[in-house]
């Protein structure tokens, strides 16, 4: 087995007084794809924020390659090789598509490969090349999602986390994306998928975690998880 890349231990995260994540743990090994699934409001996005540094966890620890990274500022995590696509196709609305993508290669490590990476993204989403000089605030919903995904890929991360990757994308594009994900995974990128589409995520990932009300209630090899169990865990039946 390959080394553990990221390990989250007993994470608690709050919004004010409200506990959105209540003791969730998971780990991911180098080269894996894992999926985190759960109903709306289960706390998936919050967990990702807590790991990615945009929301300080109340308690718990996060390790990246055996170094503790809990509470480390986000930009440092990015330097270490973690990247995230937040949910909802968030783009730098007043910047052009091209500048958005270029921002993806902000880390010194990624800057070197900027031109290559840009080509790859354009390859994946040809429409973005057409719109390279359009202000991204005026893109369609799906196009924004493409920018967000492309931007994360620009940083050539070791570990990337996609929150609701297929949101707003047309079926053709979704298919492409999933093919692409498997491909970049094979090229060595470790991937966390946060998805609503249970079937697709089970199919794509090596292992899965099911979250309910802020806790991980089920986990295991995706291929071994029975659909019945997942459903039960999912709805807390």
């Amino acid at each position: 087995m390959s080394e553990i890349l990221l390990r989250a231990e007993d994470i608690y995260a709050n919004y004010g007084d409200f506990q959105a994540v209540q003791g969730a743990s998971f780990e991911i090994r180098k080269g894996e794809i894992i999926s985190i699934i759960g109903t709306n409001g289960a706390g998936k996005s919050t967990l990702m924020k807590a790991i990615g540094g945009t929301l300080a966890p109340k308690s718990g620890k996060v390790f990246y390659k055996d170094t503790e990274i809990t509470g480390m500022p986000t930009h440092k995590l990015v330097d270490l090789g973690m990247s995230q696509v937040p949910e909802g196709g968030r783009v730098f609305a007043r910047m052009t598509v091209m500048d958005n993508l270029v921002m993806g290669s902000y880390t010194p490590r990624a800057r070197k490969h900027k031109d290559n990476a840009l080509e790859r993204v354009y390859d994946l989403f040809p429409v973005l090349k057409e719109k390279a000089n359009q202000v991204s605030g005026s893109l369609s919903g799906g196009q924004r999602q493409m920018v967000a995904i492309g931007r994360a890929l620009m940083s050539e991360p070791e570990l990337v986390c996609f929150d609701e990757i297929s949101l707003g994308l047309a079926p053709t594009v979704i298919k492409d994306i999933y093919t692409k994900i498997r491909q970049i995974n094979k090229e060595g990128m470790t991937i966390i998928l946060v998805e609503q589409d249970v079937k697709r995520s089970l199919k794509t990932s090596d292992r899965s975690y099911v979250m309910l009300k802020g806790k991980v209630v089920l986990s295991g090899k995706s291929s071994e998880l029975a659909e019945e169990d997942v459903k039960k865990a999912y709805f807390g039946l």
């Binding site: 500022p73 986000t74 783009v91 730098f92």
Partner: protein, 286 residues
Amino acid sequence: MDALLQSLIQGVLLGGLYALIGIGMSLIFGIVKLTNLAHGDFLILASYISYSVVAATGMNPFVSLIVVIPVMFAIGYIVQNTMLNRVISKGAEPPLLVTFGISIVIQNLLLYYYTADARNLRSPIATKSIIITDGIRIPYIYLIGFLVGIIVIVALGFYFRHTYQGKAIKAAADDREVAQLMGVNIKSIYGIAMGISMTTAAIAGVLVGMIYNFYPTSGSAYLVIAFAVVVIGGMGSTYGTLAAGILFGLAQVMGAHFFGASAQLLTGYVVLLIMLIFRPQGLFQR
């Protein structure tokens, strides 16, 4: 005829200076979305710092920039990081009040240390001109102001268009959280933006100090000019600011030329309001 040409020249040159006064504000206004009511006072603060440096070392005011710029950059960085960053996400009004607080503190500290006496950074070229004809002259100091204004603005334009850091500032202003996810150090990036704004204020402050006399309260007059330039040019648009500065400067000087001295300020404002009717988001804003 000479008088008209002289006014035209003066208007354009003055406009370059106006653009320089406005550019730092426009940057912070458009990109960080912060209305810095203390911009004029920072500018005058730079004039005073330069004054002290010149008084202590006897160097040329321009040379004093090697001290003034780093000091102003640091002040901007610190002010942004210790105060403004804490309120920037709380809506438009708290930062407005904080910058106003900073404005009165600067004014009164200056008054305290430097007294209400008039000061300037007069250098021998202040009263010299290039004489073209008897009726047309180009004052060196305005010419320098104009050229420096253009250089600074072009440099800033390049910075925001072609450097990662420049883009990071814009990105951070658009979406803080996502910018962090790109690896931007959000804590320092606004500080850097403010530092750059203060750098332009430093340059403008030294020029203003060489052209005009200044007092601890002089800042407010420059704030109005900066605002006018920003509104005409469109927030955060570097070349827009340049065009706006020239338009505003020309409007004032030509207003005075055609309608008399009393019309000078008013013509400026009228041009500004007309601009706003046709381009409510500024000249160069999409």
